[in-house]
Symmetry: C2
Subunit: 77 residues, 2 copies
């Protein structure tokens, strides 16, 4: 089964990579970029029948840092 | 306007980060992880009326590396 996990920094947590991209876009002439936030996307190929609880445990233990990151699990996406 | 850009390594391009995550999950007892591929997600806040062509140009010039990466643009997502 295919599972996609989207991991973004929580709102309010500074995102220096996103800021660097914002400035880089401005620097090469793209105007009108108010803000960029960068996150991670993980596409997992798991054996059939893996429960959502197991996937949540993976996220909490190793995939994401729940102190500063939010994650979203999309099963079958 | 909010635009989300999803950037993944092309199929066939080795993904050492994804492999490391696959092994790390196995190492802490999560079985049944066949494969993991890691990508980037960018949430852009652009001024209203930015055309899709402009966003494609941003991707080709600076956000993605079209030689090894595929990107997907989701407007309003």
């Amino acid at each position: 089964m295919k599972v996609t996990v989207k991991i973004m920094l929580k709102k309010g947590v500074l995102d220096p990579q996103g800021k660097a991209i914002t400035h880089a876009l401005g620097g090469i002439g793209f105007e009108g970029v108010n803000d960029v936030r960068q996150g991670k996307i993980l596409e997992l190929d798991l054996i059939e029948g893996t429960s959502e609880d197991t996937i949540k445990a993976m996220c909490d233990k190793i995939l994401a840092n729940p102190v500063i990151e939010d994650y979203e699990i999309m099963i079958g996406a």
